[in-house]
Each structure stands twice: as structure tokens, then as C-alpha cells.
């Protein structure tokens, strides 16, 4: 039995993991670096330990020992997909809530993972080390150690390949300390569809259905949902079986995700396996009732899966919007500052996984993900209505963010039709422009609130000293 867990992460995911651990009556230890001294995940835990870096596996394992934690949960990002933390845990006799180091290592290498999956009969995107045949174009150059669009190039013609590989390699070297790149067939208008998987240490593997993650900006997901509008019962069965085959191929232990791309005619290809909890895991929890962190803990304790495939029946529709500290209207410029006003949406079927609140300081130190707004409703149409309402209710002022942009995206007729793919945002430049007209009602309320200045000093100016008269 696990009694005390060190959560080796920050922000919304550290808080979300803590929620489940407290429900399981497991004690929690937070870690924090200097810029996070006042962050919300610190007081949310039973104890907190200052560290120099979220990326130093040895330091984190030392902290776990010092605080008497018998397990470490890596969250996502940081060390979650580095074999080093899993390895250091094994050495120190601490339970790593995640897969074995060898699984993380083989799935973290994009070429190796494809070889493993191909051998297991899982369809993979045609891939070449160097020179693809002329018939293969267009192709994508990708980084072996990469992700998030870094070190990636689209190449239309064979004569452009050498230069694209060289520049992708330079970028990959900087981003991942691994300059290796490879070439992959480029699939037009693909959807990004992933399957949640669970595996225990007794050889049982199931999938927990799909998540549609096609709405992306610069290869970063911003809206995810389940079920996918592309899915038929037959396709779900085929892709689900492939996902389970992928899990079995590496005897996967824990919660993981098998990512596929799906082309417009229904062919799907293995893309990669994420050996951790995904950012978008809540939509799966909303439609299945599972708590994936709880499942992770039970698996790490060595327990058998509580469910067989036939036991799982998803209900309704769930959608997640990622609230980022960035300005989509200004080329996704990241923004920083202090959150002065934070009024969270609520109501039936609304879940907010947030790492910030009123007075939180958002700095350049970390990922710009502030919170995830998740809704559940009986149908996709009702889920969109609910998400629009929840976004419109969400007041987050002091740090520029993408809340209104997300509202525009889900209000788009093509989005509501469900005919989406990863090129959706590129086809809709109008979603990035916003009218600069200020309605008179906004000027009126601006003129009312002169006493609430941020600095505490009242400076009379055009809005506060003019424009209104008592009648």
C-alpha cells in the first residue's frame, strides 16, 4: 500500500493529483522551485519541499526519501517521460507511479517505438531514415527525440529535403539535445486521435476509448473531446484493438496513451505512445466515470485492473479547453502578470482543473497552461453549449489569455459540424482577429471604477474623470 506520495510537478496537474490522493487517504508532498514559492500547488499538499529544479531526478528522489514518501507521481511534462526518474526510484526502493524505465526509453525514441509497434502488427506511418522514394512526397521531417512541433518540417519536393533535414536537426539539437531526425509520409487533413490505455503488472491491458485532439495551434492541442465525431463502432473497435496490441507489445504498466493519426478515408497509423497521464485525461474521466489517477495508484501498488474491456461503457460527451496565458490575436504571444480577478465558472457538468487563482503570479518560467476547463453533457451539441456558457462565465483578468479565442473556435460552424482535422485553425484566420470597436457600455463601466487602481494610486484620466455625468 502506498501511504505517502511526492508529486514531482507543479500547477494544475500537481493539484489535480493531490485531489485523488487525498480521497485515497494518501499523504502528499509538494515540491517547488523559487519562482513557485507562492504557487497554489504548495499549500495544497500536506508537506512541501523546496528543490532547485523540477528536472533533477536525483534531487527529487532525495526529497522523497527525506520526507518519507514511498512513491513518486511524475504528472506530465518535466521528468514524466524521462527514464531517469523511474530508474532513480527503482534504485532507491521508491515506487514510481508510471511505467518501467525500459518502456519509457523505448517509447520515447520515435524510431524505436515505431519498430516495436510495426513488429506487433500495429499500423505505422511509412517512415524512412533518409531518402524517401519520389512517390512518397510530401513528407514530414521529424525529430527522433522530439515533440510539440519542434524540429519538424514539411517538405513538398525531393530537392528541398536536405536543407529541411539540416535545419530540423539544428532545432532538435537545441530543443532535445538530440540532433537525429527522420522522414515520415505526410498525411493530408489528418485527425489526431488517441486512445487511453491501462495496463497492470499482471499482463492485463484495456483501452478506455478515444480522445479527439485535432484542434491544435502549432502542434499544441487546445481543445480535446470524446467521443470523436470521426468514430464509428467498427473504427473504434479496430483502433481500440490496435491500442491494446500496442500496450501488450511493451507489456505496458500504468496509464498511457496511444496516439494515432486518422486520414479522411478512415486509415489510421500509430504516431507515438505517451507513457504518462495526459493533459487531456479529464474528458475520459467525465465520460467513463473512472479516476485515472486512482487507477495509476492502484496499478503502482501491484493491484489487478478492476475492469475488463466489456465493463466499460462511456456515456455522453466531454470537451476540454486549455486556458493558456497567451494572446492568440497577437501570434500566441505569451503573457505574464498577476491575476487580479479570478471568477471560476460553475454549474452542472462543469469541471475546472486550475493551477492558478486570484493573486497568482504568472511568469515566463513555466508552461503557459493556467487551467483546463472541462464540461460534460449528454450530447456533443449540449457539451458545446455548456462550454460556451462556461467560457463566457469565466473571468480571468490581469494576465492576457485565450478564453475568448476558445469561445470563437467552438462557436465556429465548421467546429460544431464535427468535420475537424489538425489544419482547422490554419483554415480559419478570421478566428484570430478581433474587432477593436469598444461598445459604449464598456466605456461606461470603465468610467465608473476609478477608485480600483492596481497600484493603489488614483490617477485621474480621460476615462475616470470625463464621460459621465450624474443626472
Amino acid at each position: 500500500m502506498i501511504r505517502k506520495v511526492l508529486i514531482a510537478n507543479r500547477g494544475e496537474i500537481a493539484i489535480r493529483i493531490g485531489h485523488t490522493l487525498r480521497e485515497m487517504e494518501i499523504e502528499t508532498v509538494a515540491v517547488f522551485t523559487d519562482p513557485d514559492e507562492h504557487s497554489l500547488h504548495v499549500p495544497a499538499a500536506d508537506a512541501a519541499c523546496h528543490i532547485e529544479s523540477y528536472l533533477d531526478a536525483r534531487e527529487i528522489v532525495r526529497a522523497a526519501k527525506e520526507y518519507g514518501a514511498d512513491a513518486i507521481h511524475p504528472g506530465y511534462g518535466f521528468l514524466s517521460e524521462s527514464p531517469s526518474l523511474s530508474e532513480e526510484c527503482e534504485k532507491a526502493g521508491i515506487i514510481f507511479i508510471g511505467p518501467r524505465p525500459d518502456t519509457i526509453r523505448s517509447m520515447g525514441d520515435k524510431l524505436e517505438s515505431k519498430r516495436v509497434m510495426q513488429a506487433a502488427g500495429v499500423p505505422v506511418v511509412p517512415t524512412w531514415d533518409g531518402n524517401p522514394p519520389a512517390s512518397a512526397y510530401p513528407v514530414l521531417v521529424k525529430a527522433v527525440g522530439g515533440g510539440g512541433g519542434k524540429g519538424m518540417r514539411l517538405v513538398e519536393k525531393a530537392e528541398d529535403l536536405a536543407e529541411a533535414m539540416a535545419s530540423a536537426s539544428r532545432e532538435a539539437s537545441k530543443a532535445f539535445n538530440d540532433s537525429r531526425v527522420f522522414v515520415e509520409k505526410y498525411i493530408r487533413r489528418p485527425r489526431h486521435i488517441e486512445f487511453q490505455i491501462l495496463g497492470d503488472s499482471h499482463g492485463n491491458h484495456i483501452h478506455v476509448f478515444e480522445r479527439e485532439c485535432s484542434i491544435q495551434r502549432r502542434h499544441q492541442k487546445i481543445i480535446e473531446e470524446t467521443p470523436s465525431t470521426a468514430m464509428t463502432l467498427k473504427l473504434r473497435e479496430e483502433m481500440g484493438a490496435a491500442a491494446v496490441a500496442a500496450a501488450k507489445a511493451v507489456d505496458y504498466r500504468g496509464a498511457g496513451t496511444v496516439e494515432f493519426i486518422l486520414d479522411p478515408i478512415g486509415s489510421f497509423y500509430f504516431l507515438e505512445m505517451n507513457t504518462r497521464l495526459q493533459v487531456e485525461h479529464p474528458v475520459t474521466e467525465m465520460t467513463t466515470g473512472l479516476d485515472l489517477v486512482r487507477e495509476q495508484v492502484l496499478i503502482a501498488e501491484g493491484q489487478r485492473l478492476l475492469y475488463r474491456q466489456a465493463d466499460l461503457h462511456p456515456v455522453g460527451h466531454s470537451m476540454e479547453c486549455r486556458i493558456y496565458a497567451e494572446v492568440p490575436e497577437e501570434n500566441f504571444r505569451p503573457s505574464t502578470g498577476t491575476i487580479e480577478i479570478f471568477e471560476a465558472p460553475a454549474g452542472p457538468g462543469v469541471r475546472l482543473d486550475s493551477g492558478v487563482g486570484k493573486n497568482s503570479v504568472v511568469s515566463y518560467h513555466f508552461d503557459p497552461l493556467l487551467a483546463k476547463l472541462i464540461v460534460w453533457a449528454s450530447s456533443r451539441e449540449a457539451a458545446i453549449d455548456r462550454m460556451k456558457r462556461a467560457l463566457a462565465d469565466f473571468v480571468l483578468l490581469g494576465v492576457r489569455n485565450n478564453i475568448e479565442f476558445l469561445h470563437r473556435v467552438i462557436s465556429d460552424p465548421e467546429f460544431s459540424s464535427g468535420k475537424i482535422d489538425t489544419g482547422f485553425l490554419d483554415r480559419h484566420p478570421e478566428l484570430f482577429t478581433v474587432s477593436t470597436d469598444v461598445p459604449v457600455e464598456a466605456l461606461l463601466v470603465a468610467s465608473l471604477g476609478g477608485e480600483k487602481t492596481v497600484s493603489g494610486a488614483h490617477i485621474p484620466d480621460v476615462w475616470t474623470s470625463g464621460f459621465w455625468r450624474n443626472s
Binding site: H407, V440, A442, L444, A446, V454, I459, P460, W463, F467
Partner: protein, 141 residues
């Protein structure tokens, strides 16, 4: 609640009645709005029924000029615009906050008020005149 809890807002030739119902709820022309306002150094941020607007503040020079005006008794243009009406004559006695002129900037009407009680010493503008930001308009002795 302050005296600003209800009133009439004059803009674009319209007179718009409003009533502040709660700290973050206002009725404007019969319709209710949830709102939040944040004033920072460079802009006013207004959240109104799910939309956020960024209103730039006036130039620094104008701010300091405006802030200095009450002490000096000088009334200056806070924004470039047009003088629509002058409501006092030289020599008139005015009370503090009395409306002395109406000007229009960015299609918005705004009232200029006497910074303090006194006598209108000089009027440096006339009806219909286009004025620059910071331009001296009226002096109260």
C-alpha cells in the same frame, strides 16, 4: 453606494441611463450586464458579459497635466477633440464640479468640470473649435 450608482452616460449624442445594481452588475438602458474593471498603468481592462476590452490610457503628459489641473484652476483638454458647448461666460461664478463645457473625443461626449469653486477668469476656446490634448481651455480663479 456612491453617487455614481445611477446616472446618465452621454455618448455619441445619446443619453444612456444606467443603474449599478451590485458591485459587478449594472443595468444599462434596461439591460443587465455582469462586469469587472481593472485599471493598470497603461490601460483599463473591462470585462463585460464574457468579452474583454482593452482601453488605452491617455498619454503620460496629459495625465500629469490633468492631475495638476485642479490645483492650478486650469481646465485642459484631456484628449484631442472638439468643443461642443461652453456653458459659462467669463466672470461667472462657478461651484466645484460644475459643468463648464462639453467636448467630443473619439465620438464620445464628455463634460469638463470646474476643478474648484471660483470665478471664470478666462476662456481660451470657442464652440466648435478643435483642440489638442493638454490645450488650456478655461481658467478658474
Amino acid at each position: 453606494m456612491t453617487s455614481r450608482s445611477h446616472g446618465t452616460f452621454h455618448a455619441s449624442g445619446r443619453s444612456i441611463p444606467f443603474r449599478l445594481l451590485e458591485p459587478n452588475l449594472i443595468e444599462i438602458d434596461g439591460k443587465r450586464y455582469r462586469f469587472y474593471v481593472l485599471h493598470n498603468r497603461n490601460e483599463h481592462i473591462v470585462w463585460l458579459n464574457g468579452h474583454t476590452y482593452h482601453l488605452p490610457r491617455a498619454e503620460k503628459g496629459a495625465l500629469s497635466h490633468a492631475a495638476a489641473a485642479p490645483a492650478s484652476g486650469e481646465i485642459t483638454a484631456l484628449m484631442p477633440g472638439k468643443i461642443l458647448r461652453i456653458e459659462v461666460n467669463a466672470g461667472d461664478t462657478v461651484v466645484e464640479k460644475q459643468t463648464v463645457a462639453i467636448m467630443e473625443s473619439m465620438k464620445m461626449e464628455s463634460a469638463l468640470h470646474a476643478p474648484r469653486a471660483g470665478r471664470v477668469a478666462a476662456i481660451h476656446c470657442q464652440q466648435g473649435q478643435v483642440v489638442e490634448m493638454g490645450e488650456l481651455l478655461i481658467v478658474i480663479d
